[in-house]
Protein backbone atom coordinates (compact mmCIF):
# COMPACT_ATOMS: atom_id res chain seq x y z
CA UNK A 1 0.00 0.00 0.00
CA UNK A 2 1.32 3.44 -0.87
CA UNK A 3 2.13 5.59 2.16
CA UNK A 4 0.22 8.88 2.15
CA UNK A 5 2.55 11.86 2.53
CA UNK A 6 1.20 14.97 4.19
CA UNK A 7 2.55 18.01 2.35
CA UNK A 8 2.90 20.88 4.81
CA UNK A 9 3.91 23.54 2.30
CA UNK A 10 1.81 26.69 2.50
CA UNK A 11 0.33 25.65 5.82
CA UNK A 12 0.89 27.65 9.04
CA UNK A 13 3.14 24.96 10.47
CA UNK A 14 5.44 25.06 7.44
CA UNK A 15 7.03 28.41 8.30
CA UNK A 16 8.23 28.55 11.94
CA UNK A 17 11.88 27.72 12.75
CA UNK A 18 12.36 24.19 14.03
CA UNK A 19 15.30 23.02 16.16
CA UNK A 20 18.20 21.20 14.59
CA UNK A 21 19.57 17.90 15.91
CA UNK A 22 22.34 19.82 17.70
CA UNK A 23 19.87 22.17 19.40
CA UNK A 24 17.85 19.20 20.62
CA UNK A 25 21.02 17.56 21.92
CA UNK A 26 22.06 20.60 23.95
CA UNK A 27 18.55 20.93 25.38
CA UNK A 28 18.98 17.74 27.36
CA UNK A 29 22.78 17.68 27.78
CA UNK A 30 23.19 17.40 31.56
CA UNK A 31 26.35 19.50 31.93
CA UNK A 32 25.05 22.31 29.72
CA UNK A 33 21.65 22.22 31.41
CA UNK A 34 23.18 22.46 34.90
CA UNK A 35 24.90 25.64 33.71
CA UNK A 36 21.58 26.85 32.23
CA UNK A 37 19.77 26.00 35.48
CA UNK A 38 22.10 28.23 37.46
CA UNK A 39 22.06 31.03 34.87
CA UNK A 40 18.26 31.05 34.50
CA UNK A 41 17.80 31.00 38.27
CA UNK A 42 20.06 34.03 38.54
CA UNK A 43 18.05 35.84 35.85
CA UNK A 44 14.74 34.95 37.53
CA UNK A 45 16.03 36.10 40.94
CA UNK A 46 17.01 39.47 39.46
CA UNK A 47 13.44 39.94 38.26
CA UNK A 48 11.95 38.71 41.53
CA UNK A 49 14.08 41.07 43.63
CA UNK A 50 13.20 44.02 41.37
CA UNK A 51 9.49 43.20 41.74
CA UNK A 52 9.50 43.56 45.53
CA UNK A 53 9.60 47.24 46.47
Amino acid sequence: MEKKIEIRAYKDEFYPPVPTKATKFWRTNLVYQIYKFLRLNYKIMRIVVKGHS
Binding site: P16, T28, F37, G51
Partner: protein
Amino acid sequence: MAKVVVLGAGISGHTAASFLKKMLGSKHEVVVVSPNRYYQWVPSNIWVGVGRMKIDQVRFPLDKVYQKWGIIYKQAKALEFHPEGDQENNSPFVTIEYVANAEKGQREKVSYDYLVNATGPKLNFDATPGLGPGKFSQSVCSYDHAAHSWEALQQSIKAMENGQMQRLLIGTGHPSATCQGAAFEYALNIAFELKRKKLSHMAEITWITNEYELGDFGMGGAFVKRGGYITSTKVFTESVLTENNIKWIKRAGVTKVEDGIAHYETLSGEQNTKDFDFAMLIPAFKGQDFKAYDKSGEDITAKVFAPNGFMKVDADYTPRAYESWTVEEWPKTYQSPVYPNMYATGIAFAPPHGISKPMKSPTGLSITPSPPRTGMPSGVTGKIVAQNIAHFIKHGETEHKHTASMGKMGAACIVSAGFSMTRGLGATMTVSPIVPDWQRYPEWGRDIKATVGEVGLAGHWIKLFLHYMFIHKAKGYPFWWLLPE
Protein backbone atom coordinates in the same frame (compact mmCIF):
# COMPACT_ATOMS: atom_id res chain seq x y z
CA MET B 1 -6.13 44.41 69.23
CA ALA B 2 -6.69 44.72 65.47
CA LYS B 3 -8.46 42.13 63.36
CA VAL B 4 -7.56 41.42 59.75
CA VAL B 5 -9.84 39.19 57.68
CA VAL B 6 -8.44 37.55 54.55
CA LEU B 7 -10.97 36.14 52.08
CA GLY B 8 -9.44 33.31 50.07
CA ALA B 9 -6.52 30.98 50.74
CA GLY B 10 -5.00 30.64 47.30
CA ILE B 11 -1.55 31.88 46.31
CA SER B 12 -2.38 35.51 47.12
CA GLY B 13 -4.61 35.05 50.18
CA HIS B 14 -2.37 32.45 51.81
CA THR B 15 0.70 34.66 51.23
CA ALA B 16 -1.11 37.68 52.73
CA ALA B 17 -2.35 35.72 55.77
CA SER B 18 1.02 34.11 56.47
CA PHE B 19 2.93 37.40 56.37
CA LEU B 20 0.24 39.25 58.35
CA LYS B 21 0.46 36.71 61.17
CA LYS B 22 4.25 36.68 61.12
CA MET B 23 4.42 40.47 61.33
CA LEU B 24 1.53 41.05 63.73
CA GLY B 25 2.17 38.15 66.13
CA SER B 26 -0.30 37.05 68.78
CA LYS B 27 -1.33 40.60 69.76
CA HIS B 28 -3.58 40.86 66.72
CA GLU B 29 -6.05 38.55 65.06
CA VAL B 30 -5.81 37.16 61.52
CA VAL B 31 -8.86 35.32 60.18
CA VAL B 32 -8.93 33.39 56.90
CA VAL B 33 -12.25 32.60 55.23
CA SER B 34 -12.03 30.07 52.40
CA PRO B 35 -14.54 27.46 51.17
CA ASN B 36 -11.74 25.11 50.08
CA ARG B 37 -10.04 23.32 52.98
CA TYR B 38 -6.92 22.77 50.88
CA TYR B 39 -4.14 25.00 49.68
CA GLN B 40 -3.22 24.10 46.11
CA TRP B 41 -0.12 24.92 44.13
CA VAL B 42 -2.04 25.63 40.92
CA PRO B 43 0.93 25.63 38.46
CA SER B 44 1.48 21.91 39.10
CA ASN B 45 -2.11 20.95 38.22
CA ILE B 46 -0.82 20.42 34.69
CA TRP B 47 1.13 17.40 35.91
CA VAL B 48 -1.97 16.01 37.65
CA GLY B 49 -3.70 16.35 34.28
CA VAL B 50 -1.16 14.03 32.60
CA GLY B 51 -0.88 11.59 35.51
CA ARG B 52 2.63 12.64 36.54
CA MET B 53 1.54 13.88 39.99
CA LYS B 54 -1.17 12.78 42.39
CA ILE B 55 -3.66 15.28 43.81
CA ASP B 56 -2.04 15.12 47.26
CA GLN B 57 1.29 16.24 45.82
CA VAL B 58 -0.18 19.59 44.77
CA ARG B 59 -2.40 20.29 47.80
CA PHE B 60 -2.42 20.09 51.60
CA PRO B 61 -5.04 20.84 54.29
CA LEU B 62 -4.99 24.41 55.55
CA ASP B 63 -6.28 23.83 59.10
CA LYS B 64 -3.06 22.29 60.48
CA VAL B 65 -0.88 25.10 59.12
CA TYR B 66 -3.24 27.80 60.39
CA GLN B 67 -3.45 26.10 63.78
CA LYS B 68 0.35 26.12 63.99
CA TRP B 69 0.52 29.80 63.05
CA GLY B 70 -2.40 30.89 65.26
CA ILE B 71 -4.58 31.99 62.34
CA ILE B 72 -8.34 31.52 62.78
CA TYR B 73 -9.68 29.52 59.85
CA LYS B 74 -13.31 29.42 58.78
CA GLN B 75 -14.25 27.00 56.03
CA ALA B 76 -16.88 29.23 54.53
CA LYS B 77 -17.62 31.42 51.54
CA ALA B 78 -18.10 35.17 51.74
CA LEU B 79 -21.45 36.47 50.49
CA GLU B 80 -21.85 40.14 51.39
CA PHE B 81 -19.60 43.07 52.18
CA HIS B 82 -20.84 45.62 54.73
CA PRO B 83 -17.96 48.12 54.81
CA GLU B 84 -19.91 50.59 56.97
CA GLY B 85 -21.54 47.99 59.21
CA ASP B 86 -25.34 47.98 59.40
CA GLN B 87 -28.12 49.35 61.62
CA GLU B 88 -27.06 47.04 64.47
CA ASN B 89 -23.27 47.09 64.04
CA ASN B 90 -20.99 50.08 63.68
CA SER B 91 -18.00 47.94 62.70
CA PRO B 92 -17.53 46.84 59.10
CA PHE B 93 -18.16 43.15 58.51
CA VAL B 94 -18.54 40.45 55.88
CA THR B 95 -21.35 37.92 55.89
CA ILE B 96 -20.07 34.41 55.39
CA GLU B 97 -21.74 31.03 54.99
CA TYR B 98 -20.08 27.85 56.25
CA VAL B 99 -19.74 25.10 53.64
CA ALA B 100 -18.69 22.06 55.70
CA ASN B 101 -19.07 20.12 58.95
CA ALA B 102 -21.83 20.72 61.50
CA GLU B 103 -21.91 24.45 60.74
CA LYS B 104 -22.73 23.87 57.05
CA GLY B 105 -25.29 26.41 55.83
CA GLN B 106 -24.93 28.65 58.91
CA ARG B 107 -24.29 32.33 58.34
CA GLU B 108 -22.06 34.60 60.41
CA LYS B 109 -21.12 38.27 60.44
CA VAL B 110 -17.33 38.53 60.65
CA SER B 111 -16.18 42.00 61.67
CA TYR B 112 -12.83 43.40 60.64
CA ASP B 113 -10.49 46.36 60.94
CA TYR B 114 -8.85 45.49 57.62
CA LEU B 115 -10.16 43.24 54.87
CA VAL B 116 -8.10 41.55 52.16
CA ASN B 117 -10.16 40.19 49.28
CA ALA B 118 -8.06 37.46 47.65
CA THR B 119 -10.90 35.33 46.36
CA GLY B 120 -9.38 34.69 42.95
CA PRO B 121 -11.52 34.12 39.89
CA LYS B 122 -14.86 32.41 39.52
CA LEU B 123 -14.43 29.88 36.72
CA ASN B 124 -17.22 31.08 34.47
CA PHE B 125 -17.99 27.89 32.54
CA ASP B 126 -21.59 29.09 32.11
CA ALA B 127 -20.40 31.88 29.81
CA THR B 128 -19.81 29.22 27.11
CA PRO B 129 -22.72 26.78 26.70
CA GLY B 130 -21.55 23.18 27.00
CA LEU B 131 -18.11 24.08 28.39
CA GLY B 132 -16.52 22.44 31.39
CA PRO B 133 -16.34 19.33 33.55
CA GLY B 134 -19.62 17.45 33.66
CA LYS B 135 -20.43 18.85 30.21
CA PHE B 136 -18.38 18.34 27.06
CA SER B 137 -14.87 19.56 27.86
CA GLN B 138 -12.23 19.25 30.57
CA SER B 139 -10.36 21.85 32.62
CA VAL B 140 -7.05 21.97 34.54
CA CYS B 141 -7.92 25.09 36.57
CA SER B 142 -8.12 23.17 39.87
CA TYR B 143 -6.65 19.89 41.12
CA ASP B 144 -9.98 18.02 40.91
CA HIS B 145 -10.59 19.29 37.38
CA ALA B 146 -7.07 18.20 36.43
CA ALA B 147 -7.66 14.74 37.91
CA HIS B 148 -10.87 14.36 35.88
CA SER B 149 -9.04 15.58 32.81
CA TRP B 150 -6.43 12.86 33.32
CA GLU B 151 -9.19 10.22 33.55
CA ALA B 152 -10.69 11.44 30.26
CA LEU B 153 -7.26 11.64 28.62
CA GLN B 154 -6.57 8.03 29.60
CA GLN B 155 -9.69 7.00 27.68
CA SER B 156 -8.28 8.70 24.60
CA ILE B 157 -4.89 7.06 25.14
CA LYS B 158 -6.58 3.67 25.43
CA ALA B 159 -8.43 4.33 22.15
CA MET B 160 -5.11 5.20 20.47
CA GLU B 161 -3.58 1.99 21.76
CA ASN B 162 -6.52 0.19 20.18
CA GLY B 163 -5.70 1.79 16.85
CA GLN B 164 -8.23 4.64 16.83
CA MET B 165 -7.02 8.11 15.80
CA GLN B 166 -7.89 10.72 18.43
CA ARG B 167 -8.47 14.42 17.94
CA LEU B 168 -7.36 16.45 20.96
CA LEU B 169 -8.40 20.09 21.24
CA ILE B 170 -6.60 22.26 23.82
CA GLY B 171 -6.84 26.00 24.40
CA THR B 172 -9.22 28.77 25.42
CA GLY B 173 -12.94 28.07 25.78
CA HIS B 174 -14.23 31.63 25.66
CA PRO B 175 -13.49 34.67 23.47
CA SER B 176 -12.10 36.58 26.49
CA ALA B 177 -10.45 33.72 28.40
CA THR B 178 -6.98 34.17 29.87
CA CYS B 179 -4.43 31.67 31.28
CA GLN B 180 -3.25 30.64 27.80
CA GLY B 181 0.02 29.60 29.45
CA ALA B 182 -1.61 26.80 31.45
CA ALA B 183 -3.44 25.43 28.42
CA PHE B 184 -0.26 25.72 26.34
CA GLU B 185 1.64 23.70 28.96
CA TYR B 186 -1.07 21.08 28.91
CA ALA B 187 -0.88 20.72 25.13
CA LEU B 188 2.91 20.31 25.29
CA ASN B 189 2.75 17.83 28.16
CA ILE B 190 0.20 15.71 26.31
CA ALA B 191 2.41 15.74 23.21
CA PHE B 192 5.39 14.68 25.38
CA GLU B 193 3.47 11.85 27.05
CA LEU B 194 2.20 10.56 23.67
CA LYS B 195 5.77 10.63 22.35
CA ARG B 196 6.87 8.64 25.39
CA LYS B 197 4.13 6.07 24.72
CA LYS B 198 5.02 6.05 20.99
CA LEU B 199 1.47 7.16 20.13
CA SER B 200 2.17 10.55 18.53
CA HIS B 201 1.12 9.24 15.13
CA MET B 202 -2.32 8.33 16.52
CA ALA B 203 -3.16 11.84 17.74
CA GLU B 204 -4.05 15.08 16.03
CA ILE B 205 -3.48 17.81 18.61
CA THR B 206 -4.92 21.26 17.89
CA TRP B 207 -4.26 24.43 19.85
CA ILE B 208 -7.23 26.83 19.72
CA THR B 209 -6.74 30.33 21.05
CA ASN B 210 -8.34 33.75 21.28
CA GLU B 211 -4.93 35.39 20.83
CA TYR B 212 -4.39 37.63 17.80
CA GLU B 213 -1.01 35.96 17.35
CA LEU B 214 0.38 32.94 19.17
CA GLY B 215 2.58 33.85 22.11
CA ASP B 216 0.39 36.80 23.12
CA PHE B 217 -0.51 35.08 26.44
CA GLY B 218 -2.83 37.95 27.36
CA MET B 219 0.10 40.32 27.83
CA GLY B 220 0.48 41.53 24.28
CA GLY B 221 3.28 39.05 23.54
CA ALA B 222 6.94 39.75 24.24
CA PHE B 223 10.30 39.89 22.56
CA VAL B 224 13.33 37.82 23.47
CA LYS B 225 16.98 37.82 22.46
CA ARG B 226 17.56 34.53 20.71
CA GLY B 227 20.05 33.23 18.19
CA GLY B 228 21.44 36.67 17.39
CA TYR B 229 17.98 38.17 16.80
CA ILE B 230 15.34 39.91 18.83
CA THR B 231 12.45 37.56 18.21
CA SER B 232 8.79 37.79 19.11
CA THR B 233 7.13 35.15 21.28
CA LYS B 234 4.91 34.48 18.25
CA VAL B 235 7.87 32.85 16.50
CA PHE B 236 8.96 31.12 19.70
CA THR B 237 5.47 29.66 20.33
CA GLU B 238 4.85 28.63 16.71
CA SER B 239 8.23 26.92 16.70
CA VAL B 240 7.45 24.92 19.86
CA LEU B 241 4.03 23.86 18.51
CA THR B 242 5.44 22.89 15.12
CA GLU B 243 8.19 20.84 16.73
CA ASN B 244 5.54 18.93 18.68
CA ASN B 245 3.35 18.48 15.60
CA ILE B 246 0.56 20.56 17.16
CA LYS B 247 -1.61 22.49 14.70
CA TRP B 248 -3.26 25.74 15.69
CA ILE B 249 -6.33 27.90 15.22
CA LYS B 250 -5.81 31.49 16.32
CA ARG B 251 -8.07 34.59 16.62
CA ALA B 252 -10.86 32.19 17.61
CA GLY B 253 -13.51 32.75 20.25
CA VAL B 254 -15.18 29.50 21.31
CA THR B 255 -18.88 30.28 21.65
CA LYS B 256 -20.42 26.84 22.27
CA VAL B 257 -19.30 23.29 22.95
CA GLU B 258 -21.36 20.22 22.09
CA ASP B 259 -20.56 16.55 22.38
CA GLY B 260 -17.37 16.32 20.32
CA ILE B 261 -17.82 19.68 18.57
CA ALA B 262 -16.48 23.12 19.46
CA HIS B 263 -18.16 26.08 17.76
CA TYR B 264 -16.05 29.17 17.31
CA GLU B 265 -16.11 32.56 15.65
CA THR B 266 -12.97 34.10 14.21
CA LEU B 267 -11.92 37.73 14.19
CA SER B 268 -12.77 37.82 10.49
CA GLY B 269 -16.35 36.82 11.39
CA GLU B 270 -16.31 33.22 10.16
CA GLN B 271 -18.43 30.73 12.09
CA ASN B 272 -16.55 27.43 12.24
CA THR B 273 -16.55 24.15 14.11
CA LYS B 274 -13.80 21.80 15.23
CA ASP B 275 -14.49 18.16 16.02
CA PHE B 276 -12.72 16.52 18.95
CA ASP B 277 -12.53 13.33 20.97
CA PHE B 278 -10.94 15.06 23.97
CA ALA B 279 -11.00 18.77 24.76
CA MET B 280 -9.42 20.82 27.55
CA LEU B 281 -10.57 24.40 27.23
CA ILE B 282 -9.95 27.19 29.77
CA PRO B 283 -13.12 29.09 30.77
CA ALA B 284 -13.57 32.83 31.13
CA PHE B 285 -12.85 34.26 34.57
CA LYS B 286 -15.08 36.61 36.50
CA GLY B 287 -15.17 37.93 40.03
CA GLN B 288 -17.11 36.14 42.76
CA ASP B 289 -20.75 37.18 42.94
CA PHE B 290 -20.38 39.41 46.00
CA LYS B 291 -22.89 42.02 47.06
CA ALA B 292 -21.99 45.15 49.00
CA TYR B 293 -24.30 47.27 51.16
CA ASP B 294 -23.90 50.55 53.00
CA LYS B 295 -25.04 51.20 56.56
CA SER B 296 -28.63 51.87 55.55
CA GLY B 297 -28.75 48.60 53.58
CA GLU B 298 -28.57 50.24 50.17
CA ASP B 299 -26.88 48.16 47.46
CA ILE B 300 -23.44 49.67 46.73
CA THR B 301 -22.07 46.70 44.75
CA ALA B 302 -21.40 48.88 41.68
CA LYS B 303 -19.39 51.29 43.84
CA VAL B 304 -17.12 48.59 45.28
CA PHE B 305 -16.91 46.13 42.38
CA ALA B 306 -16.41 46.46 38.62
CA PRO B 307 -19.11 45.03 36.30
CA ASN B 308 -17.01 41.84 35.86
CA GLY B 309 -17.24 41.22 39.62
CA PHE B 310 -13.60 42.02 40.43
CA MET B 311 -12.98 44.62 43.16
CA LYS B 312 -12.07 48.17 42.25
CA VAL B 313 -8.74 49.31 43.66
CA ASP B 314 -6.38 52.25 43.16
CA ALA B 315 -6.31 51.81 39.37
CA ASP B 316 -7.43 54.46 36.88
CA TYR B 317 -10.59 53.02 35.33
CA THR B 318 -11.20 55.87 32.87
CA PRO B 319 -11.98 54.22 29.50
CA ARG B 320 -9.20 54.91 26.99
CA ALA B 321 -8.21 53.74 23.52
CA TYR B 322 -5.43 51.11 23.39
CA GLU B 323 -2.99 53.68 22.01
CA SER B 324 -3.49 55.85 25.12
CA TRP B 325 -2.92 53.12 27.71
CA THR B 326 0.01 53.66 30.06
CA VAL B 327 1.42 51.73 33.01
CA GLU B 328 0.32 54.59 35.29
CA GLU B 329 -3.26 53.30 35.14
CA TRP B 330 -2.28 50.05 36.88
CA PRO B 331 -2.75 49.85 40.67
CA LYS B 332 0.14 50.12 43.10
CA THR B 333 -1.31 49.55 46.56
CA TYR B 334 -4.50 47.53 45.78
CA GLN B 335 -6.51 49.67 48.21
CA SER B 336 -10.21 50.27 47.62
CA PRO B 337 -10.77 53.91 46.59
CA VAL B 338 -14.02 54.07 48.60
CA TYR B 339 -13.13 52.09 51.74
CA PRO B 340 -9.43 52.51 52.66
CA ASN B 341 -9.41 49.50 55.00
CA MET B 342 -10.30 47.16 52.12
CA TYR B 343 -7.80 45.67 49.66
CA ALA B 344 -8.04 43.24 46.75
CA THR B 345 -5.02 41.16 45.70
CA GLY B 346 -4.13 38.52 43.13
CA ILE B 347 -6.81 37.89 40.54
CA ALA B 348 -9.51 39.51 42.74
CA PHE B 349 -8.60 43.09 41.82
CA ALA B 350 -10.21 44.69 38.77
CA PRO B 351 -7.55 45.57 36.19
CA PRO B 352 -7.98 49.01 34.58
CA HIS B 353 -8.11 47.41 31.12
CA GLY B 354 -6.53 44.56 29.20
CA ILE B 355 -2.88 44.28 28.24
CA SER B 356 -3.53 42.76 24.81
CA LYS B 357 -5.07 45.07 22.23
CA PRO B 358 -8.89 44.73 22.19
CA MET B 359 -10.17 43.12 18.99
CA LYS B 360 -13.71 42.61 17.73
CA SER B 361 -15.13 40.46 14.96
CA PRO B 362 -17.50 42.04 12.38
CA THR B 363 -20.42 40.71 14.49
CA GLY B 364 -19.15 42.74 17.46
CA LEU B 365 -17.82 39.74 19.40
CA SER B 366 -14.79 40.77 21.45
CA ILE B 367 -12.06 38.16 20.88
CA THR B 368 -9.26 39.26 23.18
CA PRO B 369 -7.43 37.54 26.03
CA SER B 370 -8.03 39.07 29.46
CA PRO B 371 -4.95 40.20 31.40
CA PRO B 372 -3.28 37.47 33.49
CA ARG B 373 -2.60 38.11 37.20
CA THR B 374 -1.75 34.57 38.24
CA GLY B 375 1.41 33.24 39.89
CA MET B 376 4.08 35.74 40.78
CA PRO B 377 1.91 38.92 40.68
CA SER B 378 -0.63 37.16 42.93
CA GLY B 379 2.01 36.35 45.53
CA VAL B 380 3.72 39.73 45.36
CA THR B 381 0.49 41.75 45.69
CA GLY B 382 -0.59 39.55 48.64
CA LYS B 383 2.72 40.18 50.37
CA ILE B 384 2.90 43.96 49.92
CA VAL B 385 -0.69 44.40 51.11
CA ALA B 386 0.17 42.33 54.21
CA GLN B 387 3.30 44.43 54.81
CA ASN B 388 1.37 47.71 54.50
CA ILE B 389 -1.51 46.62 56.76
CA ALA B 390 0.92 45.30 59.40
CA HIS B 391 2.79 48.60 59.24
CA PHE B 392 -0.43 50.61 59.71
CA ILE B 393 -1.49 48.49 62.69
CA LYS B 394 1.89 48.56 64.39
CA HIS B 395 2.80 52.20 63.76
CA GLY B 396 -0.57 53.89 63.28
CA GLU B 397 0.50 55.34 59.93
CA THR B 398 -1.51 55.43 56.71
CA GLU B 399 1.26 55.84 54.14
CA HIS B 400 1.85 52.81 51.93
CA LYS B 401 5.51 51.87 52.32
CA HIS B 402 5.27 49.04 49.81
CA THR B 403 3.94 49.14 46.27
CA ALA B 404 3.83 46.62 43.43
CA SER B 405 2.57 47.79 40.06
CA MET B 406 2.34 45.31 37.21
CA GLY B 407 3.76 48.15 35.14
CA LYS B 408 6.96 47.94 37.19
CA MET B 409 7.32 44.35 38.36
CA GLY B 410 8.55 41.56 36.14
CA ALA B 411 7.39 37.98 36.05
CA ALA B 412 8.92 34.61 35.38
CA CYS B 413 6.82 31.96 33.70
CA ILE B 414 8.09 28.41 33.46
CA VAL B 415 6.11 26.50 30.86
CA SER B 416 6.43 22.78 31.39
CA ALA B 417 6.85 20.89 28.14
CA GLY B 418 7.43 17.39 29.47
CA PHE B 419 7.94 15.69 32.85
CA SER B 420 11.21 13.74 33.14
CA MET B 421 14.37 14.38 35.15
CA THR B 422 16.63 13.51 32.21
CA ARG B 423 14.49 13.95 29.07
CA GLY B 424 11.96 16.56 30.28
CA LEU B 425 11.65 20.04 28.87
CA GLY B 426 10.50 23.42 30.05
CA ALA B 427 10.30 26.81 28.39
CA THR B 428 11.59 29.52 30.71
CA MET B 429 10.18 32.96 29.99
CA THR B 430 10.77 36.17 31.87
CA VAL B 431 9.37 39.61 31.12
CA SER B 432 9.93 42.94 32.82
CA PRO B 433 7.63 44.70 33.31
CA ILE B 434 4.50 42.56 32.88
CA VAL B 435 2.52 45.45 31.40
CA PRO B 436 4.50 46.96 28.50
CA ASP B 437 5.84 50.41 29.32
CA TRP B 438 6.06 52.09 25.91
CA GLN B 439 7.24 55.39 27.40
CA ARG B 440 10.23 53.79 29.08
CA TYR B 441 10.94 51.10 26.50
CA PRO B 442 9.67 52.59 23.19
CA GLU B 443 11.06 49.81 20.99
CA TRP B 444 9.79 46.61 22.62
CA GLY B 445 7.69 47.84 25.53
CA ARG B 446 9.88 45.93 27.98
CA ASP B 447 13.48 45.67 29.16
CA ILE B 448 14.95 43.40 26.49
CA LYS B 449 17.95 42.57 28.74
CA ALA B 450 15.62 41.13 31.39
CA THR B 451 13.54 39.12 28.93
CA VAL B 452 14.41 35.47 28.49
CA GLY B 453 12.93 32.71 26.38
CA GLU B 454 14.70 29.35 26.46
CA VAL B 455 13.69 25.73 26.04
CA GLY B 456 15.55 22.95 27.81
CA LEU B 457 15.77 20.40 30.58
CA ALA B 458 16.81 23.18 32.99
CA GLY B 459 13.32 24.66 32.59
CA HIS B 460 11.77 21.42 33.82
CA TRP B 461 14.13 21.32 36.79
CA ILE B 462 13.27 24.92 37.66
CA LYS B 463 9.53 24.22 37.51
CA LEU B 464 9.93 21.14 39.69
CA PHE B 465 12.21 23.03 42.10
CA LEU B 466 9.63 25.84 42.33
CA HIS B 467 6.92 23.27 43.06
CA TYR B 468 8.76 21.95 46.12
CA MET B 469 9.97 25.39 47.17
CA PHE B 470 6.49 26.95 47.16
CA ILE B 471 4.89 23.96 48.92
CA HIS B 472 7.66 24.26 51.55
CA LYS B 473 6.91 27.96 51.90
CA ALA B 474 3.11 27.53 52.03
CA LYS B 475 3.41 24.85 54.72
CA GLY B 476 5.44 27.22 56.86
CA TYR B 477 8.50 25.01 57.03
CA PRO B 478 11.78 26.49 58.37
CA PHE B 479 12.79 29.86 56.88
CA TRP B 480 9.66 29.97 54.70
CA TRP B 481 9.56 33.78 54.89
CA LEU B 482 12.96 34.06 53.20
CA LEU B 483 11.65 32.47 50.00
CA PRO B 484 10.50 35.00 47.40
CA GLU B 485 7.06 35.07 45.81
